[in-house]
Point group: C2
């Protein structure tokens, strides 16, 4: 089990403010609606739902790493299994994903079916956020093997090899609220679309990263690195990418 | 502006319970954390965040209509425009989408970049939910023309024609919480994947629906209907679909 921070790490990094979110001191704050965020239990919900009040701006531009991951062959898997079983698999997948991201100070910004979007370096900032994003990607691929083992036990694995694809990019993103009537806290920018397209181009078992990510990932040592030039949908120029395997 | 319901329509439909969410009676409930949901301001957040407590089950299987919509050429659009401008466009898009869905008693279950996932018939139930889903799809396409007009005014439209694709299916879906550590309220099932794939296959300006939806949409009269057989990714058998245009 992951150890929880007693104060909101987001409020601390962004404003050097001590906001209790776990333990006895957090009780009065819970009464006025401050709770651990679903995106990362080490930050508070104010970091996302009251973004505009807290930041005095609707959106801000910050450097961040963006990670997309999804399950290869999810639609086919859903056709083969009962919906309750698919929910169980998604539960297993979400519960493997989230701690891998939270422990490295990222937030799970979006979950949509089998797809996950994580952001690193906001609201919790740290110098090695690119490295942390890649480490999360590697852990996701390792955890995926556990899901596969669970499927193998019941014999489903024979028919459908469970695997995930991961895409990671880094750079300036616009983060904050989209929508006035229907508000949503999310990241926007070419860096976000690029990570999404890299994920789409990654094979099962692969972590496809941009050159920038590859250069900034520090001491991370994947089992294999395969440099390639990827032609991605909606992006004019071919992109230099690196496929990491664990 | 949309007229808000003073009680939660979800709590009423699901449990015949009067839960005040707007107006003076809602104040004490707000103090204990009951607020209008972001998914639809006519339901309360208990309908989603406390699903398990409220329903005494983690997930339930119910008949529903599922609507997916997204912006065609969004990645290309993002390459061409500044991220702040893309955020503005997304704001316009979300704010056109949400009321079209809320007014027809649907919920905006997910927003992910340019993609939207709406559910009809839960937690607010009504006999003609399939018709309501199609009416929402038609309104989305009409609203899209307004976004296009806004782009035309600034001259961007010349370069990138803004358009959306919509996919709608109907049938039994599993709805409720996915994840134990990282909880998420969502819909799961082949019907959900089918709507997603139909959306992917829809051209800009089209609402692609299943035969079941077509037969149940009642008096909805689109400008044109084009029957086709679609081969969809991850789905073995070709699917009989109808492309509606407004």
């Amino acid at each position: 089990m992951m150890k929880m921070s007693t104060i909101c790490k987001g409020c601390w990094c962004q404003k050097h403010m001590l906001m209790p979110i776990h333990g006895p001191l957090s009780v009065p704050f819970k009464l006025v609606g401050v709770r651990p965020s679903r995106m990362n239990p080490n930050i508070c919900n104010m970091c996302e739902t009251n973004f505009r009040k807290v930041r005095k701006a609707k959106r801000i531009v910050v450097p961040a790493a963006i990670l997309f991951a999804d399950v290869r062959g999810y639609t086919g898997l859903s056709e083969l299994l009962e919906s309750q079983r698919v929910s169980q698999l998604l539960t297993l997948w979400y519960d493997q994903c989230a701690p891998a991201i939270w422990q490295r100070d990222g937030i799970v910004n979006k979950l949509m079916g089998d797809a996950i979007l994580a952001v690193f370096n906001f609201p919790i900032t740290r110098g090695d956020y690119v490295r942390q994003a890649v480490l999360s990607g590697i852990e996701l691929q390792k955890n995926c093997q556990e899901v596969r083992a669970s499927l193998a036990k019941e014999g489903t694995e024979k028919d459908i090899p469970f695997g995930i694809g991961v895409g990671i990019s880094a750079g300036q993103v616009s983060i904050g609220e989209v929508g006035e009537v229907c508000k949503d806290f999310t990241v926007v920018g070419t860096v976000v679309n690029l990570a999404s397209r890299l994920q789409g181009a990654a094979s099962a078992g692969e972590i496809l990263v941009t050159q920038e990510v590859y250069q900034q990932m520090g001491d991370v040592a994947p089992c294999s690195v395969d440099a390639r030039t990827a032609k991605l949908k909606g992006i004019e120029e071919p992109v230099k990418a690196y496929a990491l395997k664990v």
